[in-house]
Amino acid sequence: MTVTAVAPVEAGPRATGLRLWWRSAMIVWWRGNLRTIRFPGLVVSVAFFPLFFLIAYTGLFPSLTDIPTFPTDSFISWLLPFTLLQGAAFSGLGAGFSTGADIDSGFLDRLLMMPAHRSAILFGTILMALSRAIGIGVPVFVVGVAIGADVTGGVLGVVSLAVAVVGMSVISSCFALGVIYRAQDQRVAPLFQVVIFMTLFTSTAQVPLSISTGWLHAVARVNPVTNLLELSRQATLPDGWSWGTTWPGLLALAGCLAVLGTFAVVGLRRLTP
């Protein structure tokens, strides 16, 4: 796989500048896709939790919509966007796992020797995570709608959901890559899961702010994932799409991208073969 992935750069016409950067990024991306195809277990493990939570929580909590102030009478409509964001977050963690394996096998050192700018490695890896997020998200969305989720937000609602999913995948990739570039050790991988689980579940993942109580209410109010969920839930909640709900989500997304993007870029820049 390694040889196949690297060969096109060496064999093709000599590329320079932006073209070289783009081709290098595409090679990293394609290599990640090959890994996904050759190890379908990776996709199964990433897809398991979102699909499981979608089905189990839909069966478990339908009566929560009877609590006054719950914004919909369809629990699956409430849950589906969270499930998609969860899948996107796990796809980003996959980028961290894959890079950890490349560090252990020494392949990342070879990538660092590429003549293209290092950011091509980061971009290609994020793109690979994004491919997985979309590859998992589309079937989960279809299953969710098939088993009863309403799509009430029209085109703008669905676009908001897509933006949130893509954003979550990029954010979690940057986080996982920033950590693995610094630690350079696969054994930090469980840390990704702990942080992502805690960040996702201390938001409005299960119930809206008006229903959560105590410490969770306080944390969920300031957790940017809450804004991302509100952005994405415009696709499935009865209120539909509005700019007033969209801009806080976009702002949260931009803030997370700026912080975690910098975290990943600096980590990669400091990496020495």
Partner: protein, 267 residues
């Protein structure tokens, strides 16, 4: 540690060897924080989140009368904690097979029974201790056990039985496959069993397919028995339901593990 254990095994019968292997199992867990920390952190985290997120669900018609959602979740927290930790028994078996220690044990004059019982005894003690610690923590944060000390004892003994059951199942996989990854691959089974039960919400409020599946799930029988003791007070029926289900599962799965061990010894 390994050489000391083998010396100890040479000196005694099945009791001595079981005791030595149980000690090794407990030391093995305590020396690997990555093996027991998730079993402590994740269940407590999910309990804290669910208690804060779902507390208002107590207002729903048909929800059992309970002073806090934390009390309602106590049995689920124990079972989740054990689910995360008890699979280490199977991981350790697989690891022993991979690194050759299992072959050394088999070639030493150690009782075959103790290969099974030693590790299960270790995980049972761990399950008992985990239940006591979790109960104390949840009580400190506002939960209560209406059945008092007797109720806590039943909670801890049932947890021990669950630890034996899950440990035995993971050991069966470990004996047959000899691979840590394969043992880990079966983890979603326990995850699914706990979520598709009455652990987090009363199934009678869910209706539909979930109520049917949860009603057939032995984890629900156990949780319902324990929950009776936690939220209502001492009832023999609840205690016997929890202990009986735990013992039944443990006995069945220890049998499955014994078959796995026999298959491994024949190889």
């Amino acid at each position: 540690m390994t050489a000391t254990v083998i010396d100890e095994l040479r000196r005694g019968g099945w009791w001595t060897s079981s005791r030595a292997l149980a000690g090794r199992s407990i030391r093995g867990v305590l020396r690997q924080p990555q093996a027991f920390v998730p079993g402590l952190v994740f269940p407590l985290f999910f309990t804290a989140v669910n208690a804060a997120a779902l507390d208002r669900a107590r207002m729903l018609d048909g929800f059992p009368e309970v002073d806090s959602y934390l009390s309602f979740l106590l049995p689920a927290t124990l079972i989740q904690g054990i689910m995360f930790s008890a699979t280490t028994a199977g991981n350790d078996v697989a690891l022993d097979i991979q690194n050759g220690f299992f072959d050394r044990l088999v070639s030493s004059p150690v009782s075959r029974l103790s290969l099974l019982l030693g590790r299960l005894a270790g995980i049972a003690i761990y399950g008992f201790g985990l239940a006591v610690v979790f109960t104390a923590l949840l009580v400190a944060f506002g939960a209560s056990v209406q059945a008092g000390v007797a109720g806590v004892v039943v909670l801890a003994v049932t947890s021990s039985l669950v630890a034996i059951a899950i440990g035995a199942f993971s050991m069966a996989i470990g004996f047959r496959k000899g691979s840590v990854e394969e043992v880990q691959g079966y983890f979603p089974i326990f995850f699914t069993l706990v979520f598709l039960s009455s652990a987090f919400f009363p199934p009678e409020l869910t209706g539909g397919w979930f109520e049917t599946i949860a009603g057939l799930n032995p984890v629900s029988w156990m949780v319902n028995g324990l929950r009776t003791l936690v939220i209502r007070g001492w009832e023999w029926q609840g205690a016997l339901l929890a202990l009986g289900t735990g013992a039944g599962l443990a006995a069945f799965l220890v049998g499955v593990a014994a078959l796995g061990l026999r298959a491994r010894l024949r190889q």
